[in-house]
Symmetry: C2
Subunit: 316 residues, 2 copies
């Protein structure tokens, strides 16, 4: 299959969709970036702000003309959107998305299409969350941010390469991962921490006598409450979209916390110091990942070494 | 009882002790600030850096001469220190401390003294943790930070007022609290969040196959690992010093997390949205506390309103 990348259509002009459009325009990477949003006022604003070149009124016509369609709508809306655009997709129309969970979007595509199109490249740019709406669109949002692509067996490797190169042109670091692994990783590193923060703040706020506790909150707690400021509806949707991976992560965390509780209860100094030291070492390793040269930009998955974290084997 | 505040002795020249000494000197609040540290090199450095006026070699002589003694040593060392200085304390020697838990220090004082001296004002400045040592001493460390005083029934109210005024002169906001309440509040707002962070990072780092997960860590996780970078030994000691309050907080948190897990498992949207929304409202309330005019500086305990957080009653 031969692909072109002249006309890009972005569906959903929120922070991610808007930033993707604006980033393409700023770098003159394609001939035309058109935009569609259920909220036409948002779309008009995007046009005025120069986020897009063209405001689309007929979704199907726009899809039929597009070389690449970016689906940047909430995860829950993906299936309906795929159904709506399916009839207008050409065999060479690249389709990618920005949904924060992947298994459920792939399942939606399996329900919508007899076979998932070879041009479908599921993706997840890990960026932004604090702001929302097209006015927050930022042409450099993806610079030095990770984009995870999760192609399925049906996906054409050339389509993956083209989408990866496009993201790289926007400054992103592109990784490839199995969809299932993506959801597991996100559950562990993003969804679970957010849920713990929500749960902690809610637990404290839940009891009348405890409300004044917020007065005394020190450093550790501030970091938690900052995390807990995220949008409730978005997190509700994530809990549903990534349910299985999340339940698994919660269970593992609960077991870990139970080990820690046991060590406090029995004044088991060795276990306590073991937990705290391993966590600090892991944190130091993590810092080097964040500040170091990181890995090469590449459309192929980076080699995933399992560096020695200085952690002990389970069961010790 | 009549008190003077001419000579202050700071025992333990870490970040807190050193900053207390330096802050007093910078503001010329007392005639002389002397310092004692088991590590005499640290003490000498304090003298060279102008953190203290005088390096003490005989602890007992220095205590006998001091009008106020600040105990700024690790919580675990407090009992031994109290035993060591007890013989040299005059009836009008003010004694205060900077320990991060209070019940166990008061228990230590009860073991050391036949009756806790009326001049003993247990305290806890909530400041600093990232840096350590006398070189990190900062004369403005306590400005706009909270200091919680937890007098016992034996404590002379005049002694409390003097210690409170001294902290206020250093820019701190002084609160009073029951010792038991202090430990509970700190367990909830500082110790528990730190333990959750340690536990999360350790749980992830614990399994061989999961190490590469750190590569993909997004925002929420970064905040957690930052918290988990604290000193393992300090947190080990806190876990022992505040054991009971911490176990209680862990149990409450675990119950809250279990409610959340249940809601995810059963796709109970109402409960999910309830938890996330309450958490966000509590967070917003907390933000106003941090950025607002807060309460008046005062040596008397501020009135603790229980503002409407918009939270629902338990059991809903």
């Amino acid at each position: 299959m031969k692909y072109s990348l002249n006309k890009v259509l972005v569906i959903g002009l929120g922070l991610i969709g808007g930033s993707f459009a604006k980033a393409l325009k700023k770098r003159h990477l394609v001939d035309e970036v058109s935009g569609y949003d259920l909220n036409s006022a948002e779309c008009e604003l995007g046009l005025q702000l120069g986020v897009i070149d063209k405001q689309v009124t007929s979704l199907l016509d726009a899809v039929a003309e597009a070389d690449l369609v970016m689906l940047a709508v909430p995860v829950k809306a993906m299936e309906q959107l795929l159904e709506a655009i399916a009839p207008a997709l050409r065999p060479d129309t690249l389709v990618t998305d920005a949904g924060s969970t992947k298994m459920n979007i792939i399942a939606a595509a399996q329900r919508v299409f007899p076979t998932i199109p070879a041009t479908f490249v599921p993706g997840h740019p890990i960026a932004g969350a604090e702001k929302s709406g097209v006015t927050a669109a930022n042409a450099d949002l993806f610079v030095r941010h990770k984009v995870i692509l999760t192609p399925v067996p049906e996906t054409d490797p050339l389509a993956v390469s083209l989408v990866a190169e496009l993201w790289q042109s926007l400054g992103a670091e592109v990784l490839q991962m199995e969809p299932h692994r993506h959801d597991e990783v996100l559950a562990a590193t993003s969804h679970l921490p957010h849920l713990l923060a929500f749960s902690l703040v809610d637990t404290l706020a839940h009891e009348e006598e405890k409300k004044d506790i917020f007065r005394y909150a020190a450093g550790g707690f501030r970091d938690f409450t900052r995390i807990a400021a995220s949008d409730p509806v978005m997190w509700h949707d994530i809990c549903q979209a990534n349910r299985d991976a999340l339940l698994d992560q919660i269970d593992q965390f609960t077991m870990g916390l139970s080990r820690l509780r046991q060590a406090i209860d029995t004044e088991d100094s060795q276990t306590l110091l073991g937990i705290f030291t391993r966590a600090r070492i892991a944190r130091e390793y993590f810092s080097t990942l964040l500040t170091g040269t990181a890995y090469e930009l590449s459309s192929t998955p980076p080699s995933v070494e399992t560096p020695n974290l200085g952690v002990d084997k389970p069961g010790e």
